[in-house]
Symmetry: C2
Subunit: 191 residues, 2 copies
């Protein structure tokens, strides 16, 4: 148990200190109400330094929770490219990212604690909707409900494939799954 | 802490004793390897009595886990009725059952413990596939993979609606959701 003693002079692991502070502040305040300024204060560093390392609050959240999916990458990925392939693009992206056990573990850990901890739940609910789903939906011009139906399909398949490990889904070829699931997501994301 | 002292004479809560024994045996052996005979032995009752109360191993599992969904009801429900409405029928059934918080809670409790306990996980994996999904899939003549894609959609929406409570999905009208989701499930369940 290392005691934190306010502002630390010199280098040290400033980035790590910011991440620790971010985890505390996000858990306490939720994603929406947490600010870069507040997290900088908790880490006893200048807000400019937080911006320097993580650019945005979304980027800081992703790093703090070790998430494999950064809205700064996934939102453009979904919005750019042919509109008639958006379903395929999104399904392939999610299945590819989650096929890596190391990338998957922090997501499942967060889901686990959300299921037993109301504070964690509120935090990831705000992140999923405001930082991720609503941005994609608004960019595509589809309703938030349709976006959440697509999210339901994707998270349900990830859960069935990697947590419940239902066969034959758990061993199914990625491309076979893309073919099966892409039309569903395409339909939801077509206004 | 009541100690169990072998065969109990007379009435008592025999049904409750069987359920307690069933929870132990299912957790130890999984769903597939547990038998009515073994559970009767653990409860120190005659197997005929277990059959009398619960009819089948599936029925006993459902009662022991307090599940709102009994394969003996849901499998016929999906298989009977117009084939071109199977998606709508299944979506409406799942959304109706899970709209009752009391019915939902044991399912979520089981999912929670499956996410942290490998034994519980194995047990519900066997139940979901062998007692539920494969039966429906075989009855409809669709592949197990397509059935699990449909399951992924349904469990994902239940998770997003009731656990994560994402808005607007959490407050969406049941009929609006049926309209949105039924074509997806219909497509998966059409060979």
């Amino acid at each position: 148990m290392k005691r934190r003693t306010g502002r630390r002079p010199g280098a040290g692991d400033t980035r790590g200190e910011i991440l620790t502070a971010a985890r505390q502040v996000f858990a306490e305040k939720g994603f929406d109400k947490a600010t870069i300024r507040g997290i900088a204060r908790a880490a006893a560093v200048d807000p400019a330094l937080v911006h320097h390392y993580f650019e945005t609050k979304e980027g800081l959240f992703v790093a703090a929770m070790r998430l494999p999916i950064d809205p700064a990458q996934v939102v453009p990925l979904v919005l750019e490219g042919p509109r008639e392939e958006v379903g395929e693009r999104l399904v392939r992206f999610i299945l590819t990212v989650t096929s890596d056990a190391q990338a998957r573990e922090p997501v499942l850990a967060l889901l686990r604690s959300a299921m037993t901890n109301e504070q964690v739940l509120g935090m990831i609910r705000e992140f999923i909707t405001n930082a991720l789903l609503y941005k994609v939906a608004d960019g595509l011009g589809v309703s938030h409900l349709r976006m959440e139906a697509a999210f339901g399909q994707l998270i349900g398949v990830v859960l069935a494939r990697y947590v419940l490990a239902l066969e034959p889904l758990a061993s199914a070829d990625l491309e076979e799954l893309v073919e099966l699931l892409a039309p569903t997501v395409q339909r939801y994301l077509t206004p």
